[in-house]
Amino acid sequence: MSAVPKQSLIAGLKAGVRIKWLILKTAMEERLVYRGDFAFATLVRFLPIITQVFLWNAIYAGDTTSSLNGYTYPTMVSYYLLVMVARAFSSMPGLSTGIAESVRNGSVRKYLLQPVDMLDYLFWHRIAHKLVYYIIAAGPFALVFWVCREYLPGWPERPVLIAFVCSLIMAFMIGFLIEALIGLISFWFLEVSSLIFIYMMMNYFLSGHMIPLEWMAEWIPWVYYLPFRYLAYFPAAIVLGRIPPETLPFELSVQFAWIIVLFVANRIAFTRGVNRYGAFGG
């Protein structure tokens, strides 16, 4: 008797995997339709990296040995480059605005009418976008790292490298879940663009994108307890050895716990939001 449900469970899982794969493939094809625009946007995104490196050069006045709040000029450049890598995983251009837009124009109905889960769909869609982005951005990234090779600390040890990769993958998930959550708020308030702007500003400061979090912590001691730090600071800090290796497993589990919390929050917001849409929306 138990054989039948088990089989259908496996068939269901198989179908689930197949659909995720197809969303991935289709979204990648869709992305590649605009590959020219995409490649250009990618290149433009590298310009700030170069200006930022020059900026830090000016701040340190070219001095490679003196240290500001524990960061020398070479460490600062490495920090900045690693933050860029982390952001390549955690930034989600257009995710919140996309959800808000689909709620406003009604195309969110697709996910209510068809037997497909919106968050699941958007997640795989986003992975596809990211994969296409990495393919195009890999070259420029390698070039920038090669140019700045003198400042970089060299290859980290294997456990650190593994922790770095884990933190990047989880940075992607946290970035996705936070932005999706903000997008879902549009079920309550149709206009969320100002909210998104506030989030972007907060993200810029609290994730360590602008300056290392050690510098922020002087004014905002609780900055380490927020999920934002996993979006930029944390992966970079791992490679730069700012997080003691023995605490890495604990730190990574805290990051994972954030994923669970945000995931649950997303599910609740989605279920309530859809019901609200059903109750008020047209």
């Binding site: 197809l22 339709v33 209510l112 068809q114 059903g278």
Partner: protein
Amino acid sequence: MIIAFFQAAVPSELVQTLASTNITAMSAIVVKNLCRTYKVYRKREGLLASLRGLLHREYNEVHAVRDVSFNIEEGEMLAFLGPNGAGKTTTLKLLSGLIVPTSGTATVLGHIPWKREDGYRRRFSLVTGQKEQLWWDLPAQESFRLHKEIYRINTSDYNSRLTELTELLDVTELMGQPVRELSLGERMRMELIAALLHRPDVLFLDEPTIGLDVISQRKVQQFLRKYQKEQRITVILTSHYMKDVEALCERAIVINKGTVVHDGPLEDIVDRFSQHKIIELHFGVNSSPKGIERYGVVLEDRGPMIRLQVEKQKVSAVLSKVLAEYEIDDVSVSERPLEDVIAELFSSEDQSDSASPRR
């Protein structure tokens, strides 16, 4: 005898419920006392009023659907008629689970739509004029493949259905073109394919031919008729084109201001709501004679032919007088076109409504 025993053994209420479930099992869609009220924020004119609105919001209640009940049998094709804002689309939204009713119940294929179970979602489709199922930048075939996985259609079914639908709708050559490059009519046909690939048992069509040219309109119409006949699917259609409705549906529900005004055969609408008939007269002389306006409204005056709109009760009286008075070659009496009757029905209700003060 068995039934008698059965009746004796169990309480009569139970027998009745059994009997009624038996009846509803035949119905694909059962709607009972469905109501849907929207709360709409009332914004007054002017900046000051807007500021006041921030502190204290006033809401208007809009009854989009009130106390709507009907049954639809399996394999029936039914039209929803009514002016804009009558509640047609709201009803379809309720039945497809997009919105939750304020009160009342509905079951479609035994499911409560707004529970949005996958088991139900695999069995119906909603096609609206908004056309949003396809991926804009990709050829339609990519979207169809995605549908195949979303609805878990097995490969051989998928292939045969796709071939059948693309041939029926005459879009085989367009499958490889990005959707954004297709014309409105072509896109609508692709949309229909996407909606039918999983072979739904129930299909809701909300203005499927809106904005299409006559040829595309007819193509979609012909396709729907053929497909519905073959597959015996249950269809609800809303349309402003009476041509669509007359070509496809036998039964119509006329809905106005959220309530059902008429539920029955399409031709009954004309019988019930039209106060007039049309008399077509061909005169023996070469031009139409004078004085004919006394008997009714002249709709058309072309040489010896005149079309006259006459009140229903007066038709025989007018006919006998006209036949006695003029030299007439040919005469025929016909019903008014459905389109006119419906337009008249709604506009007359609007007038009587606006004459009485609201709220």
